[in-house]
Amino acid sequence: MIQAIHLIKQYKAGTGSITVLNDISLSVSRGEFLAITGRSGSGKSTLLYQLSLLDTPTSGKVVLDNQDTTGFTDDQRVNYRLRELGYVFQDYALIPSLTAAENIMAPLLMLGRSSSEAYVIASEVLAEVGLADKRDNLPSQLSGGQQQRVSIARAIAHKPKIIFADEPTANLDSETSEQVLQTFLRIHKQGQTIVMVTHEEEYTHLTDRVITLSDGQIIKTKKSRSPRGK
């Protein structure tokens, strides 16, 4: 489903450059729940950005669903993200001028759904994450956990092939974090491929596989004892 081949990501720093990802290769199977973990600055978020087409690697390639994404234009990346990927941001990343339902509707409308269709789908996915009664609330009227669940609902609404989540529980208390992870597990049980970055080791046991990064390299790969969270 996902193949990263010899990924290198360097950033310019003064006259030199910093290597954040150093020759990373990995693959993710369809339906797998992969956790990427590591200390701060290890390159885990950078890896997620490359895999989710939010950024382009300095060298190496990312193949998604047998499609080489090297050489994609910005518009092609946007279009691919729209159709095939879902993204859950660390800070929820909801548009403040849109209600919970409208935040979910925006990409659906972009996919050509009518306004009424998009609203119905948005209502359904909000119900799925337990926020049926919050669909007309603005993000400012929701708690952090509720906002994150709206963000998840937005990521799954168009039934993407892969969901990427960047430290989705980082800003949440433990109880809300648990709720969010349960939401991910429920989606995963339906066969959804998920790649999640987290620095909270206690949640990695819920995933199928955990890779640990350090200094831009994979230093450990561990199969979870309870694959698919079962």
């Binding site: 729209l82 159709r83 990409p107 972009m110």
Partner: protein, 422 residues
């Protein structure tokens, strides 16, 4: 082709979806402030030109209302008067399209005041050249409202055999400090007895009124009863020099001129519509002021475009993160740009709409009732509907460009950099 159309159609609909919500949920004060700025920008486009053009337009209207009428028949070149004047006059009077006709005898002469106290030949006489005009007071008033232009004294009656109305340009007392550059009577005013000389024939008359029409051809003339001037001129053929015609309000000056030309009047008189009868200098000033107005309007348009550019740019920059997020979740650049263009169109249209209310609801009626008092005209405020609508359209398109460019600049930035705010 169809795919492209679908892409544009989707971008437009998603852009509209985002724009409507952005506007609806923005701070009311921000929206009001931007709309107010856009209204001022619109007024800058319309008002400066409107007042500049209004200065000359006031003069043009005065010429029409107070001197030429809608059609003016004048003396042919190399002729002393309109031959067989009664013919065009009778034709005009019988036309249903005509409301009023006034025939005028016009002859150059001199006027002299204080002549009774001058005892030595070398003593300077209070004397000026003037154009004497013989009128029927009732007919002239019906056509030009001359009685309303009397600023001192009273209007002529049909019994005023030895009375005249004098234009302000001929009396020093009524002139501004700068004067008109022509000779005028220093000691004369209403009630003063003056001496008229026409073709060497002298007549003593009393000034009963002073007229000020802000029209050279009225303000530099001496008006008296037509029969009195005819006697003074020694004419008994009843041929006049000017016939002014007023349309009935439903007919155009062109229609009346065409009828007169169709009757062969051009063999006897120069047939001019009020536009053609305007002095060349007024036409030149009008053209120059309109050009100046357009020039200032262009600067106003540039200021408007830059204003919108800044508003949208600041708006887009402060929402850079959200633009990144929108791209991150698959909303393409075109849709985001459309959203900002829609927002700028909203601000431009609401500003223009408010501006239209101010222009037509306040300014036009106000200046119509209170013309700006310029020395050479009663300045009005010109806001012709096609001209104003043209400016709305120009502002609309300038807005699209001014909204699109900053949105494009921000949207083209790296998605991840935008999301992470780096």
């Amino acid at each position: 082709m169809k795919n492209k159309l679908d892409t544009y159609s989707l971008a437009l609909s998603v852009g509209y979806f985002l724009a409507v919500r952005d506007i609806r949920r923005a701070s009311i004060w921000t929206t009001l402030l931007i709309t107010f700025v856009m209204m001022l920008t619109f007024l800058n486009l319309v008002v400066v030109r409107g007042i500049l053009v209004g200065l000359t337009e006031g003069s043009v209207r005065s010429y029409r209302e107070r001197y030429t009428g809608d059609v003016l028949l004048g003396t042919l070149d190399k002729k002393q008067y309109i031959e067989d004047s009664h013919l065009p006059r009778e034709i005009a009077e019988q036309l249903p399209q005509v409301r009023a006709v006034s025939a005028r005898y016009v002859v150059p002469g001199t006027i002299e005041a204080d002549y009774k106290t001058v005892v030595r030949r070398d003593e300077g006489a209070d004397k000026a050249n003037a154009v004497m005009v013989g009128i029927d007071p009732g007919r002239e008033d019906a056509l030009t409202n001359l009685s309303r232009q009397v600023v001192s004294g009273r209007y002529l009656t049909s019994d005023d055999h030895d009375a005249v109305l004098v234009g302000v340009s001929l009396l020093t007392k009524y002139q501004s400090a700068a004067g008109t550059g022509t000779a005028s009577l220093k000691t004369a005013d209403v009630g003063t007895q003056i001496r008229l000389t026409v073709n060497g024939i002298v007549k003593e008359v009393t000034i009963v009124g002073v007229v000020k029409a802000k029209v050279t051809n009225v303000d530099s003339r001496v008006f008296m009863l037509d029969r009195e001037l005819r006697l003074l001129m020694g004419r008994d053929d009843f041929n006049v020099n000017e016939i002014a015609i007023r349309a009935n309000g439903k007919s155009s000056e062109k229609e009346i001129a065409a009828i007169l030309l169709g009757n062969g009047i051009d063999a006897q008189a120069k047939v001019q519509t009020w536009q053609e009868a305007q002095p060349q200098f007024i036409r030149d000033i009008s053209a120059t002021f309109a050009l100046l107005g357009d020039l200032i309007g262009s600067i106003g348009l540039a200021v408007a475009s830059i204003t919108i550019f800044i508003v949208i740019f600041v708006n887009a920059i402060t929402r850079r993160k959200f633009i990144g997020i929108l791209k991150g979740i698959g909303v393409n650049s075109l849709a985001i740009q459309c959203s900002y263009v829609f927002q700028s169109i909203f601000y431009a249209l609401s500003g223009s709409l408010l501006g239209l209310v101010v222009v037509y609801g306040l300014m036009v009626p106000y200046f119509a009732d209170n013309p700006i008092n310029f020395p050479f005209s009663d300045g009005i405020f010109v806001a012709d509907v096609p001209g104003v609508l043209l400016r709305v359209v120009v502002l609309f398109f300038a807005t699209i460009a001014a909204g699109y460019i900053p949105a494009r600049i921000v949207v083209k930035q790296n998605t991840l950099d935008a999301i992470l705010g780096r």
